[in-house]
């Protein structure tokens, strides 16, 4: 059973074709979008989330699901951690009385309860990304999109972010993420979508993708990334 379907999806900016002819059904709980730089991974994620409008084709949700997104660089308002999380909740219509509790719970789950009254933009990059995850998590989304969530982080912060993503997924939230890190894709995803040059090359269960990708493009990509 799929929960998101892309049909003939394409995006052109000026004369540049960024994505073309993407036909895809997402049914897995945890999906990784892989591919070299410029493959169109982040663009595809934004099209799915509705931040970009496709030039051709459609994005259709059989049942509308609530969504949230975490970006490569956390974007925090000039306010406290608490205010940043409560802001998202207020936009989703959560009544004022319930926001504080939800914010506190989300902060506890990302392991940063003590930062609640700190100024968000004064935190380290790793802490800000965990606050961004808490902000998204507090919304209790049914689908969480993540765009290279650990690309700007040190290894310790990356591990912590991976742990949090794992917990969010364990709670039943569907995960769709782009990553450059093959190990991360292997640890988190059930299914890999491989893009190259703005085209969908393959959609394969994760074990199979790393053992025996069905396209030579993906095979070469894995070899290059592993440096062998």
């Amino acid at each position: 059973m799929h929960w998101l379907e892309l049909q003939g999806l394409g995006l052109t900016e000026g004369a540049t074709r960024i994505l073309a002819d993407i036909d895809l059904k997402l049914g897995a709980g945890r999906t990784a979008l892989l591919g070299p730089n410029g493959a169109g991974k982040s663009t595809l994620l934004r099209l799915m989330h509705g931040l970009l409008r496709p030039s051709t084709g459609t994005v259709s949700w059989p049942n509308p699901l609530s969504q949230a997104m975490v970006f490569q660089r956390p974007v925090m308002l000039r306010a406290t951690v608490l205010a940043n999380i409560e802001y998202g909740l207020s936009l989703r219509g959560v009544p004022a009385g319930a926001r504080r509790r939800k914010a506190d719970e989300a902060l506890a789950r990302v392991g940063l309860p003590e930062l609640v009254h700190r100024q968000a933009r004064k935190l380290s990059g790793g802490e800000q990304q965990r606050v961004a995850l808490a902000r998204a998590w507090a919304l209790e989304p049914e689908v969480l999109f993540l765009d290279e969530p650990t690309a700007s982080l040190d290894p310790a912060s990356s591990r912590e972010v991976e742990r949090i993503i794992g917990e969010i997924a364990a709670g039943g939230t569907k995960i769709v993420m782009t990553t450059h890190n093959l190990g991360q894709a292997h640890r988190i995803a059930e299914e890999v979508i491989y893009l190259e040059g703005g085209r969908l090359m393959e959609q394969t269960p994760v074990e199979e993708f790393f053992r025996q990708p069905s396209t030579s493009a993906a095979r070469l990509f894995i070899q290059d990334e592993l440096g062998s």
Partner: protein, 234 residues
């Protein structure tokens, strides 16, 4: 040269003595220009934010218009407001001409475009940084504009200051709609113009020095505020 030195010395004495007339003029100047700045912030900042995040027909024309209006000549603004407020004009019934209220209106017309245009620039930069995150969270453009105005509150002090600096330093508009009436609508700039033409340089110089000092003090205050805010909020 000695005349300037003499005048400066006299100016110093006037300030040191706390001359009542001088104080009255300075006070009215500040009252008029600060009121106009406050009004212009209330009008111009939401307008600037709307121009930055909004998508509506005519937006680009409006942006060009407001950028152009930043250079509006004060005498022209004075003339237009004079025509509006004069007894035969559309707002003549309120009897505002030659009152401080008329001066506030004229300066508001003069600096609202400045504040709106500078706000638009600040909020456009913020919008570039926050756009995807705010849209992802579900903020409408109106809500995003409000959020970013508050988020950029310390950067926006610069826009307010630019407006105040322009208002407190202009002479053409307040001269025409205020009439430079002694004790009623006489402000620093109109007094400087009048006293200079009469040859009373000490008073003109004293006021000139105070005018410069006021602008410097307010700018220094704003600078310190921004530094503090930068450290606190990042």
């Amino acid at each position: 040269m000695s005349e300037i030195a003499q005048s400066l010395a006299l100016a110093g004495e006037l300030v040191a003595a706390g001359d009542a007339k001088l104080a009255e003029i300075v006070w009215l100047s500040l009252k008029v220009s600060l009121s106009a700045t406050a009004l212009s912030c209330v009008l111009g900042m939401p307008l600037g934010a709307l121009l930055a995040v909004g998508r509506f027909p005519g937006r680009h024309s409006l942006i060009v218009l407001f950028n152009g209006l930043m250079g509006l000549p004060p005498v022209v603004v004075g003339l237009l407001v004079y025509l509006l407020l004069s007894r035969a004009g559309p707002l003549g019934q309120f009897g505002l001409l030659f009152t401080p209220a008329a001066m506030i209106i004229a300066q508001t017309v003069l600096i609202t475009p400045i504040i709106a245009a500078l706000t638009r620039q600040v909020i456009e930069d913020e919008w570039r940084e926050y756009r995807e995150q705010l849209r992802s969270l579900g903020a409408s453009r109106m809500r995003a504009g409000r959020t970013l105005l508050w988020n950029a509150r310390f950067s926006l002090t610069t826009a307010g200051l630019a407006g105040f600096g322009r208002a407190v330093a202009e002479v053409g508009a307040v001269m025409i709609v205020g009439g430079n009436i002694d004790g009623v609508t006489r402000v620093m700039t109109t007094t400087i113009a009048l006293e200079t033409s009469k040859g009373d340089l000490p008073l003109a110089l004293a006021l000139g020095a105070i005018l410069v000092a006021v602008v410097l003090v307010i700018n220094t205050g704003a600078f310190i505020l921004r530094q503090w805010a930068e450290r606190r909020w990042g």
